[in-house]
Every structure is written in C-alpha cells, then in structure tokens.
C-alpha cells in the first residue's frame, strides 16, 4: 500500500513558499486542482454576472428610470447572458465533473491530464478576453466598449454595418476560444468515464453522476461544434467579405439562428444534466435510500440527451417557419417532458419511505425539485407554439429560463458545493450559515422569478432598457428588483461561509455524510493519487456493501 513515492509526498509537510504554490497551481495537471480552478474561476464570473444583473434590475425598478444609458443597459444584458452561460455555469459543471468523475469511477486522474489543463486555460483566457472588451472594444472612438448584441447575437446586428468597433469581435473570439476548451474537457470526460473505471465497475454499476456526465460530455461535443463553426463564419463575414449571415448580400439571418440554437438548446441540458447528477447523488444519501429506478434514470438521461438535439427551433417559433415545421418542434419539445417527468418522479420515489435529513445540500435539492417542476411546466406552456407566439421574447421567457438555470441548476450546484465541500477542503462548512444562505436565496429567488412571469403575460418584452408607465408592469418590476437584493445577500453569506470554513471549519473526516460512493472512501482532501490501491467494486454503492456486509447491494442489482 505505501510505496516509496507516497512516503516522500507525505514527508514534505513544510509549507512551500507562496510563489512555488502558485506555480504548482498554474502548471498543475491534477484533475482535483483543475476542478477547483474551474470552480473558483466560475465563482468570480458568477459575481461579475450578478453585478450586471443587479445593474439591470435597478434600471428597471420603475418606468422611465435613468440609472444607466440604453447603451450601457444593452451591454449589461449581453455580458450577463454570455458570462453566466459560458463563464459561470459551464466552468462550474466542468469543475465538478473534473473533480468528481475520476474519484467516483475509482481512477487516479482524467484520461488526458494535459488536455485537461489546456482546456481549462483556454476557457479561462476566453473569459478574460470577453472582459478585456471593456478596455479594448472601442475600435473607433465612440463605437462603445463591451459587446451589446445580446447573448445570442442575432444576425445581422453583428455585421460590420450595425456593430462598429471591436466589441463584437471580442464576443466572437471569447466564445470561440472557450468553446474549444469546452470540447477538450468534454472529450476528456467521455474518455474518462468510458476507459478509466476501476475493476468491477461495469457501465451498469457506475454512479449516476458518471453516467450523466458522460451524456453531458457527448452533448457538449455535438452542440459546441456548430456554435464554434458559426463564430468562425461570423468572423469571415466581418473581416473576409463572407456573406453567410449578411441578408443584404443574399445571406440568411435565419441561418445564424439555427446555428445558435442547435447549440443553445442542448446547452440547457449540458447544464441541467450535471444538475440532475448532483440531485441523483445527494437525494439518496440524505433520504438514506438507494436511488429509485437506476436503469430508468439512465435511460431517461439518454432519452433527454437524444431528444434535446432535435428541439432547437422551439426558440424560433416566431421567425415564420411553416405550420409543418412548427408542428414538428412542438412534438419534439413536448416529448422531452416525458423523460424529465420520469426523473422527477424517481427522485420523489427515492425520498418516499426514507429517513430524510434536511441538511443544507438536501434543502437545496428539495427546492430544486419544486422549482424544476415549475420550470418544466412553464416549458410545456412555451412548447405550445401558438402560446409561445405570445410568450416568446417576453419577460415570461426570461422568468422561465431563469427558473431552469437558477431555480433548477444553480440550486443543485449550491447543494453540490455544500455536499462535496468537506471532501474538497477537508473541513465542514458552517451549517447555520448554510441554512441562512438557503433561506435568503430561496426568498430572493421566488420574489424575483415568480413575479417576473407576470409582466411577460402583460406584454412586456425582454431587453428593453425602460418601459412606459400605465402598462400594468410597474409593481411587478419593483418586486422583482427587491428580490435581487435577497439573492445578493444570500450569495455573500455563501462566499463568507466558504472562506470561513476553509480556514476555521472543523475537520470533516473522509466520510461525513455516511455516503456510499467511492470518493468518500479516500481522505479529505484526497491525496494527489486519489487511491493508494485502486478499489474494486461489486455494486453501484461500494461503501454500502462495505458498511452492510450482511445485506450488500449486489444481491439485488
């Protein structure tokens, strides 16, 4: 068990100088360190995106407000959307995948550690490139700084004619570069899950988190490629006289929409499937029961992955497709409700008959179940194309997808933070602060996004920097803005809790939750090599088998 190199690793307990530590972090190819880097990087951009959202909400607190100019408002919503999707949400799910997948499949690292580091730094520099536009976007004097074309950057607003200066170029290059990074990481995750599993871990005995990240990786490869190609085409349009999206020269603005949404819709599931993965690990442990219907959960995930590649044009019901085209996308979009519904019912069935412990991770996951249910149901409303003709592009849609991304995904991500923080840091977080964070954030979330549906139903379009009084929108916008401050307070409590616990938390031990998957069988934080001896498993819950030798899972699977 103890080889020479391991002993040497333990012997050097002296703290190395700061420069050396930093150098180790920058040059690391260890999946755990890269995972932490991804997560920290995402947290920074989460704060940036949050500040941009707050600026928008202050502007919209009352009609004809002039907190910011229309130009600044348009930059804020473009940067908010781009930041949150590409530089907060994706790095967070990649960070957790990086950290957890090798540990949970009993591997010592990802399949391609160097590709892993390369991909992270590509994504990271993509984010810095985007934010450098605040300084460098002003190509011609007065052309503005940060991009202001909206996060889906519809043509031909992105052409040279309508986007002067370099702000749109920064947007294109940032998304392009981080897209390459995402594909690298996705390939790595797929390869790790398929090739690096420990002895005994057949595909059917993998933790659900590994399965779901495998599907996520596949979706990233399929959906990121068209987007990355489209960015290149747009650059060609802007600088090499191409006419892909230039409607004046026979190009097609609708083509860009197809390119964007064939990425954009699977992207929702790229973010949601890892969130499902967190829920599928956390809910069983805090219900003290095995996941209900493992094979069906895997099948539902594969079905979601498959169907999600064929629903993109439901973002385009208003662009004038034929009745037949609309009908197809109504059907495919409604169909995705079935596997998603199965998942919700299976999580409920997991809780049914259990002994539910409402620790902070479980609180976030239960709120996720409730909120994801609502997000799914408003999704069904939007999938009925004629209803969508009213709701599309309104605040109802904004409320809907924030319900998915914040109420669904961010809530489980917070749950995942609290659940795996003891593993990553070796210390317990503060439970009281965790619960305070939960309640502040839940109240803020519901104030903001419940009431945001209403102005949409009353005809308020998104992306307007101000609105007319007398439309019945004023009071709802006021409430929505108030909720933002609760969410901001909750986020501050969260960050404070992380920092405080990192330095002052009590030691967590290797298995604080009495959990069942392999990451809890090694030290907290795990050593660089993860497992001194590669584990061998016989069921989906190897630690359950260890703790209950009289009644192991492999009797039943």
């Amino acid at each position: 068990m103890s080889t020479a190199s391991i002993t040497i690793g333990h012997a050097s307990s002296e703290r190395p100088p700061l420069v050396e530590t930093l150098h180790q972090w920058v040059t690391t190819v260890d999946h755990k360190r890269l995972g932490v880097l991804y997560i920290l990087y995402a947290l920074i951009f989460l704060v940036f995106g949050g500040i941009e959202a707050t600026i928008m909400r202050i502007q919209l607190i009352r009609p004809h407000n002039d907190f910011v100019s229309p130009e600044v408002f348009n930059r804020m919503f473009t940067m908010h959307g781009t930041t949150m999707i590409f530089f907060a949400a994706m790095p967070i799910v990649f960070g957790f995948a990086n950290y957890l997948v090798p540990l949970m499949v009993g591997a010592r690292d990802m399949a391609f550690p160097r590709l892993n580091a390369f991909s992270f730094w590509l994504s990271a520099f993509g984010g810095f490139l985007l934010y450098f536009s605040f300084l460098g976007g002003d190509g011609l004097y007065g052309a503005g700084n940060a991009p202001d074309v909206g996060w889906f950057a519809y043509a031909p607003l992105t052409s040279q004619t309508f986007s002067l200066g370099h702000s749109t170029d920064f947007w294109i290059l940032a998304v392009f570069v981080s897209g390459l990074g995402s594909m690298g990481t996705a390939i790595n995750i797929v390869a790790t899950v398929l090739c690096m599993r420990c002895p005994g871990m057949t595909l059917g005995k993998m933790p659900l988190l590994a399965w779901l990240n495998l599907v996520m990786g596949g979706l990233v490869i399929l959906s990121m490629s068209p987007l990355t190609a489209a960015q290149l085409m747009l650059l060609i349009d802007r600088y090499l006289g191409g006419h892909f999206f230039d409607a004046q020269a026979g190009g097609s603005a609708v083509l860009w929409m197809h390119f964007f949404w064939i990425f954009g819709h699977p992207e929702v599931y790229v973010l949601a499937i890892p969130a499902f993965a967190f829920a599928s690990e956390i809910i069983p442990v805090f219900s003290r029961k095995a996941i209900f219907g493992y094979p069906v959960m895997v099948a539902a995930t594969l079905a979601i992955g498959f169907i999600s590649m064929s629903v993109w044009a439901h973002h385009m019901f208003t662009v004038g497709m034929t009745a037949a085209g609309n009908t197809f996308f109504v059907l495919s979009t409604m169909a995705i409700a079935v596997p998603t519904g199965i998942k919700i019912f299976n999580w409920l069935a997991t809780m049914w008959g259990g002994k539910i412990q409402f620790r902070t991770p479980m609180l976030f996951c239960v709120a996720f179940l409730f909120q994801f249910l609502i997000a799914g149901l408003t999704g069904i409303m939007l999938s009925a194309a004629p209803f969508d003709w009213q709701l599309s592009g309104s605040y109802f849609v904004v409320a809907h997808f924030h319900y998915v991304i914040v109420g669904g995904i961010l809530f489980t991500v917070f749950g995942a933070f609290y659940y795996w923080f003891p593993k990553m840091s070796g210390r317990m977080y503060n439970e009281a602060l965790g619960k305070l964070h939960f309640w502040l954030f839940a109240i803020g979330f519901h104030l903001t996004f419940d009431f945001m549906h209403i102005p949409g139903l009353l005809g308020m379009p998104r992306r307007i920097y101000t609105y007319e009084p007398g439309r019945g929108w004023d009071i709802w916008n006021l409430i929505v803005t108030i909720g933002v401050f609760f969410q901001a307070a909750g986020t501050l409590v969260f960050l404070g809790n992380l920092l405080w616990s990192k330095w002052r938390g009590v030691a967590a031990g290797s298995d604080p939750w009495d959990a069942w998957t392999l990451e809890w069988s090694t030290a907290s934080p795990p050593p660089a090599y993860n497992f001194a001896v590669l584990p061998e498993v016989r069921s989906r819950r190897p630690l359950w088998d260890l703790k209950h030798p009289e009644d192991p899972d492999w009797h039943y699977e």
Partner: protein
C-alpha cells in the same frame, strides 16, 4: 376577522380584473384580453395548457409535501437505515405512460390552433399592409393605394359575421424586429431577406398597444406600436385623406424652403414636394399622428421642436442626427411640420 373582511374584496377585484379585463383593464397589453381571432384562439389554448399544467403541478406538489412531512427523520425514526427499494417496473411504467397521454392531448390541441392561424388565407375585402421594420420605427405601405405612413397602424374593425381582416406582410430594412400587439395576435418577426406574414381581425374599435419584441439595437425599447381600429367608414375616410399629397400653404413657405434646402430631404418623403428620402418616416401627414419617434413622445408642438433640434434628447441612440438649426430655422421648420395635416 377584519383582515379577512378587508382582503376578500381585494382578491375578488383582482380576480375580476383578470377574468374581465375590458371592464377594469389590468394592462392594455394583456395577452389574456384578446380582441382578435388569432389572439382569441391562442388565449383559449393557453387556458387549456394552464389547466393541464396546473393539475400536474398540484399533484406533484402534494406528493412532494407529503414526502417531506411524512418521511423526514424524527427522533422516533429509530436507528438503522430504512428499507432499501431499488425500483418498481409497474410504477415507473405508469409515470411514463400517463405523461405520454397528456402530451398527446396537448399536442393535438396545439396543432389545431397552429393550423387555424397559419393556414388562414385573405378573404375578399381583406386589407393588405406591408410592415417594414427599421431601427427604431415602423413603416406601413397600404396595398392598392399610395398610402405610406409610420408607427401608427390604422385598420378597419372586423365583424365576425363578415370578416374584414388585415393581412400584414412583414419585412425588415436592417436588423431583426418583431411585430407584437398582444391583444390582437402573437408576435411574428421581421427579418431581412425573409418575408413573413401575420393577420389580425379586431372585433372592437379602439387603440391597441404593443412594441418591438426582438432586440434590434440601442433604442429597441422605444420602438412602440399603436394600432388604431376604426369603423369601416372612419378607416376609408382616413385612407382617402392619407392618399392626398401634402397641403402646400404659403404661410409655412419659409419652413418648407429650409426643409428642402438641407439634409432633411435625404431621409424623409413629403409627397407632392421635392422631399423623396426613404430612410426615415414619411412626413406627408405627420400631424395626423398622435406620437413622434415611434411612440417616444406625444406629437405636441413643443416636443416636435425639441425633436427637430436634437432627436437624441427624446430618444437617445435614434438614427436621426441633430441638424444644428438656428432658432428661427427651427421655428420655421416646426411650423411647416405642423401644417402637414
């Protein structure tokens, strides 16, 4: 008790406002207060979808709440793990098949409404208008006439027994826009090099509001829509009046000469004069409109003067430049505009 007494009427009023928005409008752009066949059909479908999703919501919510309350860990739960259940084919089959059936019902209802709206063809007597989206205003061309106007669309009321709907061809001169008047129809985008169409048949006269619903640039927020639904006689009278060339009055000749001698004519048309620009709104009958700047301001003499002096003061980011006119030129041009009835 007093609280209940006081709040019940509030809820009642709120519910009544939702149910019957005509009597007590919650919003002039409420999608649940339809006044035209496409919006009617959508609203009816919406209520079906809301009822079905509402029922699903309540069912799952009850299950979730029951699970939270019933199965939370209590001091009486005892030690040891609960019974491990790994799944149940029957139960899982049930919650696969039932959603499939629900989806089939919703899908069929949706397809009916798609067909009823998208497959409609203009009956004889339909009004046809081309709508051209510009950064950040609307241009309207009435078919079979020379009428060109901006931002404020006039259409005849449609009697359901003898419908006279208005069919709109949607075009764009620059970026993407979207035509959305919630009480009349769902939105349809205006995309360059990609002609679209939609139609409305308002059942009641009146003013219907809306605005551009696809981000189109700096002033997307102030690209407002006003649809004036008039009786057939009023509409015919309006159309005849609009088709006449601009009135030429000697009293405003100074303003006309100023207007025609500077860059105004490069962008604006005033029919019957030398001004034939196409980039900005047609001003032939400017004073027949209630607003200027696509709804950014009321069409008052003071606003008009401010607009001509510096449009960006009223609508920052709009594409009309400040012309740098002297005070006397400004007065003359404003007087000329006010004569364009």
């Amino acid at each position: 008790m007093r609280i209940i007494k006081n709040t019940v009427p509030i809820f009642y009023t709120a519910a009544a406002a939702w149910a019957n928005p005509a009597s007590q409008p919650l919003s002039p752009t409420n999608i649940f207060a339809p006044a035209s066949t496409p919006a009617d059909n959508i609203s009816a479908l919406s209520f079906l979808v809301l009822a079905v999703t509402g029922a699903i919501f309540l069912t799952v919510l009850c299950l979730l709440l029951y699970a939270i309350v019933r199965f939370r860990e209590k001091p009486t739960s005892g030690l040891g793990e609960p019974a491990q259940v790994y799944g149940s084919t029957q139960v899982e089959l049930a919650w696969t098949v039932i959603p499939v059936l629900v989806i089939v019902v919703l899908f069929l209802a949706t397809v009916r409404v798609i067909a009823s709206i998208q497959n409609a063809t203009p009956p004889p007597g339909a009004v046809e208008v081309s709508v051209i989206g510009h950064q950040y205003w609307w241009e309207y061309h009435y078919a079979h006439s020379n009428v060109v106007t901006a931002n404020e669309l006039h259409v005849p009321v449609s009697n359901p027994a003898h419908p006279t709907p208005t069919f709109l061809t949607l075009l764009s001169a620059d970026t993407d826009h979207s035509f959305w008047v919630p009480r009349l129809a769902g939105k349809t985008d205006l995309i360059p090099n990609h002609p679209n169409s939609t139609w409305i048949d308002p059942h009641e006269t009146g003013l219907y509001l809306g605005q551009c619903a696809q981000y189109c640039g700096v002033e997307h927020a102030k690209m407002l829509l006003r649809v004036y639904v008039q009786t057939r006689d009023q509409f015919d009278h309006w159309l005849a009046q609009q088709s006449r060339p601009a009135v030429a009055s000697d009293a405003v000749d100074a303003g006309r000469r100023t207007f025609e001698s500077i860059a105004c004519v490069n962008c604006h048309t005033i029919r019957g004069t030398a001004a034939v620009g196409k980039f900005g709104p047609d001003l032939t009958h400017l004073m027949s409109r209630d607003t200027i700047g696509a709804g950014a301001a009321l069409n008052t003499p003071a606003n008009l003067r401010r607009w001509i002096q510096n449009p960006n003061a009223l609508k920052p980011g709009c594409l009309m430049p400040a012309m740098g006119l002297s005070d006397s030129q400004l007065d003359a041009v404003t007087a000329y505009m006010e004569a364009l009835r």
